[in-house]
């Protein structure tokens, strides 16, 4: 067919004959996706990959910011395995992760179900409940410190005013739960609104059919609502896991890692930027990163399975 086509003439023939310009190459169908992707990849390489590789490098060295780093092999990692403080921080981080995600999902789903119905003042309630998400976490932690202070905090003033005893929410036995409470309070709107958006987008006909078939509310929730929300739940779990492993701000304004609240990110920060033990701090950061990656990878695969079209 092509051999029968008349030969090109004029500007089109000229264009065919010369080499394409850079712009034409970049915007061609073949390369356009790379044109869009490369700036992002370069930025990621500079701001993510380079620091990551540098951290991995330092994690095999001993360096206190003076002189040249000394290669120590796996020493920092071996030390981590026996570092009681690190292991405790790791355990506490997992506790916070589980508590926060369970509560945020449970209460968030409850609120989302509640708010999925129309009620008077719904927009005001929904708007106000978003507020905690809009405040910087560090500011919130300072505010909570003022509210929860044993002697001068607003909470105890209120409790005393109504004749109740003061509460010490910074006791070592419960301080970690207080940190969880602060975190949940701030991030609850996130899971609530994601789930609410999910509920709003569920197909009505399926629920109508279930109602006509006489399915109970509980049955409908268990067999229809929940499975349909699972991909969103997985997204919340993945994102919140990543964020919670790096939880830092609530500690900065309150306990600063004291009273049994030192978490993974705090001990990493303290080692790297307070004691400037860069090698050991880097090893901590790498372990924290690896754990996050592993957790998220497992959950991401689950998410993909959930989202895959069913035959």
């Amino acid at each position: 067919m092509l051999s029968n086509s008349p030969p090109l003439t004029g500007p089109l023939a000229e264009r065919e004959a010369r080499k394409p310009t850079i712009w034409e190459t970049l915007t061609s169908e073949r390369y356009f996706r790379w044109t869009l992707l490369i700036p992002l990849l370069v930025l990621l390489a500079i701001f993510m990959l380079y620091p990551l590789i540098y951290s991995i490098y330092f994690s095999f060295h001993d360096w206190g910011m003076q002189g040249d780093p000394t290669f120590t092999g796996l020493h920092n990692y071996r030390q981590l395995v026996f570092d009681e403080n690190f292991l405790m921080a790791f355990r506490r981080t997992l506790e916070v992760l589980v508590i926060c995600i369970v509560v945020e999902l449970g209460v968030g789903l409850g609120l989302a179900l509640l708010w999925n119905r129309d009620f008077r003042g719904q927009n005001v309630v929904r708007g106000l409940s978003l507020l905690p998400l809009l405040v910087a976490p560090l500011i919130l932690s300072l505010l909570w410190n003022f509210i929860l202070d044993f002697n001068f905090g607003a909470l105890n003033h209120v409790l005393q005013a109504i004749g109740l005893p003061k509460l010490n929410l910074w006791k070592p036995s419960i301080a970690l739960f207080t940190i969880c409470g602060m975190t949940i309070w701030q991030w609850l709107p996130f899971s609530t609104f994601v789930l609410l958006a999910g509920l709003k987008s569920l197909p009505r006909d399926v629920f109508e059919a279930a109602r006509v078939d006489g399915a109970s509310r509980w049955y409908t929730f268990r067999r229809l609502t929940l499975p349909m929300l699972t991909p969103l739940i997985m997204i919340i779990v993945v994102l919140r896991s990543m964020w919670l492993i790096r939880l830092f701000d609530p500690l900065f304004g309150t306990t600063r890692g004291g009273v049994n609240t030192e978490l993974l990110d705090w001990i990493t920060y303290r080692t790297s930027f307070v004691m400037f033990d860069i090698g050991y701090g880097s090893a901590m950061a790498i372990v924290s990163w690896a754990v996050t990656m592993a957790l998220c990878l497992v959950m991401f695969r689950q998410l993909m399975k959930q989202m895959a079209p069913r035959t």
């Binding site: 206190g64 003076q66 002697n151 006791k171 306990t255 004291g258 049994n260 307070v274």
Partner: protein
């Protein structure tokens, strides 16, 4: 006779004139700063807070006189080490004038000018001029700003500890009589930890009980301490030093060179005793003490919630007094040495970075910020206590008797009493000071909260101190005495 009287009067006037001239010359002022050719801006850190803000006009006066712009960065004290450490190690020259907590002086000594060398280079009066001014500073505070015998920094204000007592309560006849009846000795500021325990127990009272003949409308605590993971180590230091022990014993040869850092058996036993006592003392403090910093103690004393703060920064006194005057009419604070008589000490100081592009201006700014003129101003206006004897003497003589006069007298006396010990304390001899200091804060906290036993914490700290010391200070090895 008349002529002789006139001669005598002239003689007297001349002498007075000479005397005042000598006094004026001994006080370095802005007029002594020579013309500076290098007008390149210099950069320094000034702590956040209203009190520290009073230094801004002092800095502006320097700029007005010299034409050298000064860029001031306001940073909370807890953030200073991290920010400056990075810039100093990287040699960026970002901070021309370096704000130094004196326990970091030795650690940063490789990155700071020796002031003697710098004075000889940029001061027309050479080192003699600086030395003359330093003669008016507290020798013990100056010693905290030295590294291996070299003066590296000059004190901007000291954070000497003191013990506050509610003086109005201690002077109350009913309280005095009741205390004597119960314990068999007079109620007076505690000189020993045992006396402190008696007083702490005596003053810990429930709402409705009496204080100074009046029923309390809130619970009262005998003590207020800053036992959070922030300054628990400083409170422990005061206890350790009072037992004639230290975190680490510095061994020196006859020439004064450090030969070894040793955590002696005595140091460890003293630390166990100090922590046990500290933990025990918390029974007379508010439960909030476990997350408390100095501001909490200020609030507790200021609001009349506690009677004694055994280990608190003297430079917070005017702050606490301001609150107390408002909240407790007739309330008054007394400042005394911490029990055992060896309060934690040191100073927030200024030195000159080797990497500065304008060492001359940086030197003169350090001189001015730490001068008599600036010191009087900071003390009177901000309550920050300069490490200068001349300022203390002036305020003790001419200033208000309370609280500034009281603080001035306290400092003159405590500097005399503790000066000899300072040069040998571990903090002022180690290059790992910043790291060990911060690590102590976190390692000690579990002993106070009960998460770990005192013995476990002492073992943890011993191991970690040896690791850090050997890692960050190669001048001499650190070992544990077996």
């Amino acid at each position: 006779m008349k002529l002789r009287s006139i001669h005598a009067m002239w003689g007297l006037l001349l002498m007075l004139g000479f005397a005042s001239r000598t006094y004026a010359q001994s006080n370095f002022s802005l007029n002594d700063v020579p013309e500076l050719k290098n007008k390149r801006a210099i950069h320094l850190i000034l702590e956040t807070g209203e009190a520290h803000g009073k230094a801004i006009p002092v800095i502006e006066a320097f700029t007005k006189k010299t034409g050298v712009p000064v860029q001031v960065e306001r940073v909370a004290s807890s953030g200073v080490y991290g920010k400056e450490n990075v810039e100093l190690m990287a040699g960026t020259g970002h901070y021309d004038v370096v704000y130094v907590e004196t326990s970091w002086t030795t650690e940063w000594s490789d990155y700071l000018f020796k002031l003697k060398d710098l004075a000889n280079k940029v001061d027309p009066g050479k080192y003699a001029s600086l030395e003359k001014d330093m003669a008016n500073m507290s020798p013990s505070i100056l010693a905290t700003g030295q590294a291996y015998g070299n003066q590296m920094v000059l004190p901007f204000y000291t954070f000497d500890m003191t013990m506050w007592v509610r003086q109005d309560v201690f002077d109350d006849p009913t309280e005095k009589a009741n205390f004597k009846a119960k314990y068999g000795y007079e109620l007076a500021a505690a000189k020993t930890w045992d006396q402190l325990h008696d007083q702490a127990a005596f003053f810990t009272r429930k709402k409705g009980e009496m204080l100074k003949g009046q029923p309390l409308d809130h619970d009262l605590f005998g003590l207020s301490m800053q036992a959070g993971a922030y300054q628990d180590n400083d409170e422990t230091t005061a206890r350790l030093w009072s037992m004639d022990a230290d975190w680490v014993t510095v061994q020196k040869d006859s020439s004064g060179k450090i030969t070894k850092f040793v955590i002696t058996k005595k140091d460890k036993e003293a630390l166990k005793a100090a922590l046990t006592e500290y933990k025990g003392d918390l029974q007379w403090d508010s439960p909030g003490a476990l997350t408390a910093n100095f501001d909490f103690v200020v609030a507790q004393i200021g609001n009349g919630n506690a009677i004694i703060a055994p280990t608190i920064w003297a430079n917070c006194t005017t702050w606490a007094d301001g609150i107390l005057k408002e909240k407790v009419p007739g309330g008054k604070i007394g400042a005394y040495p911490t029990p055992g008589g060896h309060p934690y000490t040191g100073a927030w100081s200024y030195g000159v970075a080797k990497s500065t592009k304008n060492p001359e201006a940086a030197y003169w700014l350090v001189r001015y910020l730490t001068s008599y003129e600036a010191g009087v101003r900071m003390f009177k206006e901000a309550g920050l206590i300069p490490g200068r004897i001349d300022v203390m003497e002036t305020v003790a003589k001419d200033g208000p008797e309370y609280p500034l006069g009281m603080l001035a007298k306290y400092h003159i006396n405590i500097w005399k009493a503790t000066g000899a010990n300072i040069p040998n304390y571990y903090y002022y001899n180690t290059k790992a000071g910043g790291k060990v200091y911060d690590n102590q804060i976190y390692v000690l906290a579990p002993a106070l909260t009960g998460q770990k036993t005192v013995d476990e914490v002492v073992e943890d700290l011993t191991k970690q101190t040896i690791d850090l010391q050997n890692k960050f200070d190669k001048t001499a090895s650190c070992v544990e005495e077996k």
